[in-house]
Symmetry: C2
Subunit: 199 residues, 2 copies
C-alpha cells in the first residue's frame, strides 16, 4: 500500500467554502485536490493500492484528516471540483477522533501531525519526507512500496513539522533536481514505484 500525506496549512476545516474559489477562500484547497487526483488516477481506472491523507490545518477547526482510500473510493472524477466536492462532503460530517465515512472510500476524523506520525510509525510504515536536497529516489534500492510520502502545500513544511517528521526517523528523498509542486512530486513517486513493482 502506498500512502501520501499532504499538509494543507490554510485549508479550511468547514464545508462552507465555494468550489469556485478553492485557491482563495478555501485556503489553497486546490493544491490538495490536485494531489488527490495525481495520487489516485490511472488512465483507465483508479490506483487501488493508494491511500491519501489530507491534514487540514485551516480555520475554523484546525486539525482534520481526510483519508481517500483507493480501494473503496467511488464518485471521484479527475477534475479539481470533483475532489473538492468530496472534501466538502467529508467536512460536512461531525468529525470526531474516530474516523467516520462520508462517501464511499472517503473518511474524516480530528487529528494532528504528531498523532498521525506516531500511528504510521507504530504500524511499521517507512516514513519518507520529500525534500529537494534528499537522496535521489532513483538511487534508493530498498523498497518504498509500503511507505508514506509526506509533503507540504504552498507553504512547504514548517520547521516545527520538519522536526517532528525527522524525530520519527523519516528518510529524506528527492524526486529530481528542481523544486516542484507537491502534486507533481506525487506523479513522480507513483512512476518510480510503478517501475519497481510492474517489472
Amino acid at each position: 500500500m502506498r500512502h501520501f500525506l499532504i499538509i494543507g496549512h490554510k485549508a479550511v476545516t468547514s464545508d462552507d467554502f465555494p468550489l469556485n474559489d478553492m485557491p482563495g477562500s478555501a485556503g489553497r484547497m486546490d493544491i490538495l485536490c490536485r494531489c488527490v487526483n495525481n495520487a489516485l488516477f490511472l488512465s483507465h481506472g483508479m490506483r487501488r493500492d493508494v491511500q491519501v491523507h489530507l491534514l487540514l490545518l485551516g480555520e475554523p477547526d484546525p486539525g482534520k484528516v481526510i483519508r481517500f482510500d483507493g480501494e473503496k473510493l467511488r464518485y471521484l472524477n479527475p477534475d479539481e471540483r470533483s475532489s473538492g466536492s468530496l472534501i466538502k462532503k467529508a467536512l460536512a460530517k461531525n468529525a470526531i477522533e474516530k474516523e467516520v465515512q462520508s462517501t464511499p472510500g472517503v473518511w474524516i476524523r480530528c487529528s494532528e501531525l504528531g498523532i498521525l506520525l506516531d500511528e504510521l510509525k507504530s504500524k511499521g510504515i517507512p516514513i519518507i519526507y520529500l525534500r529537494e536536497d534528499g537522496e535521489d529516489i532513483r538511487d534508493v534500492f530498498t523498497s518504498l512500496e509500503d511507505a508514506v510520502f509526506i509533503m507540504g502545500d504552498h507553504m512547504g513544511i514548517t520547521e516545527n513539522e520538519e522536526e517532528m517528521i525527522l524525530n520519527v526517523g523519516a528518510r529524506i528523498i528527492s524526486v529530481g533536481p528542481l523544486s516542484l509542486h507537491s502534486d507533481h512530486c506525487i506523479v513522480l513517486v507513483n512512476n518510480e514505484l510503478d517501475r519497481t513493482t510492474t517489472k
Copy 2:
C-alpha cells in the same frame, strides 16, 4: 525549448463554456487545463523554456490552436479555473490562420494537426509520440530537450492522427509501465528532461 502538443477531440471552440463545468459542457477542457499547469509550473515560478500547444477539435468551429508560451506568460495560476479562464479569453478572439495574442503569452489561431506537424518538422523539431508500448524514455540517450511531445485526451489518439504523426517520422516513447493521463505524462517528461539538463 520543450514543446507539448495535446489534442482535445471534444474541447469546445467557442468561449461560452462555463468554468464550473469544464469536464461536461466544455468537452473535457479540464484535461487540457491540467496539461497546461503540469507543463508550465515549477514550485517557485514558471518554466520559461516550455511551449504548450492545445489543439481544440470540438464544436462549433473545430481546428483552433491555443499556444501558451512559458517565456512571456502572465496571469496563470495553478488551478484549473485559471488556465480555463485564459483559454476562454483566447477563444473570445476572432481566430484566423495567423496567430493573435489574447493575453500575455497566450496565442490563438485556426489550424489543424497536419499543418502543425508540417510546421514542426520544417523547423527541425524532433517529434515524439507518447505511447505505452514505446521505447522507455530513460533508455533514450539522444537529447529530447528541443522536441515536441504529442498526446491525446480521454479519447487518446485516433488511428488517422497516429498515421499522420508516424508519417512525419515521430519516435514512439513511453514514460513508464502503466497507462497514464496525459497531464501525468507531462510531469514525467519534464522530470526526465530536468535530470538531463540540470546536471
